[in-house]
């Protein structure tokens, strides 16, 4: 029996993040391909009871480390807990979501275990028993296929919203194994003193299924109101291009693009955004793209599935109105 697949299933405030379920689902597919078992690692505080949920997604075993010191992600504590689980289970593959925690923890684990990290993967496969990961480079201008041939575990972080979540099978259950934390205060060198929630950001852009985004064409901060209205109708998050952020109209938290966030929603509506390469880098893997721009030559129309040439201040309110009617019909 080959060494198995271990997924670090990230949770926040006692709930699994969507990308954690995506990682568990993909982990199961990979484990099946190599004929091995899928395990999951759950780390945090007050998480004793959620581990079992992962059985429905294919985990045979779930290792849980529960300690008050682990309530917020911090590298030392989480790396110590995960290393303990890795040493106990000796997985051949270690997966996690490419979130702010996953990026951080994945890199720290790679150095600690002297192994390779494939970051922000958009596809994973098994060839000759080894993981083959596809990941973007140069802001997505090039896709690289990479492997970790000689060291274990092969670590990969997956881009959120790319892999699908399997339908949970409630008849399946996992063995939940509690792992003692043994955290001593001086081992936990960095400490989260406070978490300042971002204004107007209930849903993080990288997790949003629908994003309505504004660019230079918006003309000002106040003008984003019309996008907020459309977003409210669609249950969407509001993003912005670099121009809009640099002009001070929206906070950098909401910037989509090479020096902002990379998003992969089901629907991306770009309003008054010209479509510079650096912006496309952040959103071109969206499933469906709609573009609204006065300029028929705007590069955004080359990637848009549906383009509307017109004044966004005329078009967007109509999109809101029509969408409202449509959704009311259901």
């Amino acid at each position: 029996m080959a060494n198995g697949v271990l997924v670090f299933a990230e949770q926040r405030e006692g709930k699994f993040r969507k990308v954690a379920l995506e990682a568990v689902s993909e982990g199961k597919r990979l484990a099946d391909k190599i004929g091995a078992e899928l395990s999951a690692a759950v780390i945090g505080s007050g998480v004793e009871n959620i581990g079992g949920l992962l059985g429905a997604y294919g985990a045979a075993k779930v290792y849980v480390v529960d300690d008050a010191a682990l309530d917020n992600y911090a590298p030392d504590g989480y790396a110590k807990a995960l290393t303990r689980i890795v040493k106990d289970t000796e997985p051949t593959i270690l997966l996690m979501g490419c979130t702010s925690t996953g990026r951080d923890l994945g890199a720290k684990m790679a150095a600690r275990l002297a192994t390779g990290l494939a970051a922000d993967c958009t596809a994973l496969d098994i060839k000759d028993g080894k993981l083959v990961a596809t990941r973007p480079m140069y802001a997505g201008k090039v896709m690289a296929e990479v492997t970790c041939p000689d060291s274990m575990p092969q670590i990969a972080t997956i881009r959120p919203n790319v892999f699908s979540v399997e339908e949970p099978d409630k008849t399946k259950s996992a063995e939940v194994i509690k792992v003692a934390a043994e955290m001593s205060p001086d081992e936990l060198r960095t400490r989260v003193r406070e978490v300042i929630k971002a204004a107007g950001g209930a849903v993080d852009l990288t997790e949003a299924q629908i994003i309505v985004s504004g660019g230079r064409g918006m003309g000002g901060a106040e003008q984003f109101k019309v996008l907020e209205e459309l977003a409210a109708v669609l249950g969407a998050a509001v993003g912005a291009s670099r121009s809009a952020v640099d002009a001070g109209w929206r906070d950098h938290q909401f910037q989509v693009g090479q020096t902002g966030k990379t998003v992969s929603p089901v629907l991306y509506i770009a309003c008054g955004i010209s479509g510079a390469i650096q912006h496309l880098a952040g959103m071109k893997t969206s499933k469906v793209i709609v573009a609204v721009n006065k300029d028929p030559e705007a590069p955004i129309f080359k990637v848009a599935d549906y383009g509307i040439v017109g004044d966004l201040f005329e078009v967007v309110p109509i999109l809101s109105e029509e969408a409202k009617k449509l959704l009311a019909e259901q």
Binding site: R112, L117, K141, K197, I210, K284, F301
Partner: protein
């Protein structure tokens, strides 16, 4: 206070990237190279910390081929005091682990209170070297930071770390590695005076042997990740400009999003 800033020279973000046929490399001859934008925030922050404290030394450290010297010079022109260039054909093709290992060897001889670098390089987009270096050096790290306050006695720092939907206020002892996110500061342009004085600032060159790296630890050999192949991203299917008056087009798009694309 001694601050080390890690700097990488990368293709300009405007650059058209072409794959060299039959290889897992890109065509480099036509590209303009710049200081990695995220590293610029790190250099700027180091200079501001030094200026605020009225004392200290900023050492810029970078690994790369010959032309990477330009990037180091640019950082010296911004105000860095000296540079270390890790330069050796044997180091080429290093992944994040091999790069972090080489850098850790280079830093063995240097006194440092703080190590700054960009959160990621815009060529490989791994966002790993700074964090892996911290682990290899046995120091803590705080990544993706938009604000840094150093304690007067330089034994600790308070950082604002950007996470999804929030900013964490994180305290760390020093020395530590802190990686810079956009918004940390506005990097200065090198002045003409800065450019002139930079010519006389020392750039110390180190090769793999000088760093104490064995052949198995250097470059591709020392890398844990192998790049098997490169390809162009899948092209999106051709879209359409929905015809008609903007108002009618808008109505049509909502219909298409429901009936054709099935996303609402």
């Amino acid at each position: 206070m001694n601050i080390v800033v890690l700097v990488k020279q990368v293709p300009d973000t405007e650059a058209k990237i072409e794959i060299k046929p039959g290889t897992a490399d890109i065509v480099t001859e036509t590209i303009t190279y710049v200081v990695n934008p995220y590293d610029e925030y790190a250099v700027e922050e180091a200079l501001r910390i030094k200026e605020k404290r009225g004392e200290g030394e900023v050492t810029v450290v970078g690994m790369g081929p010959d032309k990477a010297t330009e990037a180091l010079r640019t950082c010296l022109a911004m105000g860095g005091d000296k540079a270390v260039h890790l330069k050796d054909d044997a180091l080429e093709g290093s992944d994040a682990y091999a790069t972090a290992l080489a850098l850790s060897k280079a830093l063995e001889g240097l006194p440092y209170d703080l190590i700054l670098c960009g959160k990621q390089a815009v060529d490989d987009d791994n966002a790993a070297v700074g964090i892996e270096l911290a682990e290899l050096l046995g120091v803590p790290h705080v990544a993706v930071v938009t604000k840094i306050e150093i304690s007067d006695d330089k034994t600790s720092a308070v950082c604002h770390r950007e996470v999804e939907g929030a900013s964490e206020v994180v305290e760390t002892p020093l020395p530590a590695v802190i990686t810079a996110q956009k918004g940390l500061n506005e990097p200065r342009y090198a002045s003409l005076k800065g450019i002139m004085t930079a010519k006389r600032k020392p750039i110390d060159t180190k090769d793999a042997a000088g760093l104490g790296l064995s052949p198995e630890q250097a470059g591709q050999q020392g890398s844990k990740i192998k790049v098997v192949s490169l390809s162009s991203p899948p092209a999106r299917a051709e879209g359409k400009i929905v015809p008609g008056e903007p108002a009618d087009a808008a109505r049509e798009v909502i219909k298409l999003l429901r009936e054709e694309a099935k996303v609402i």
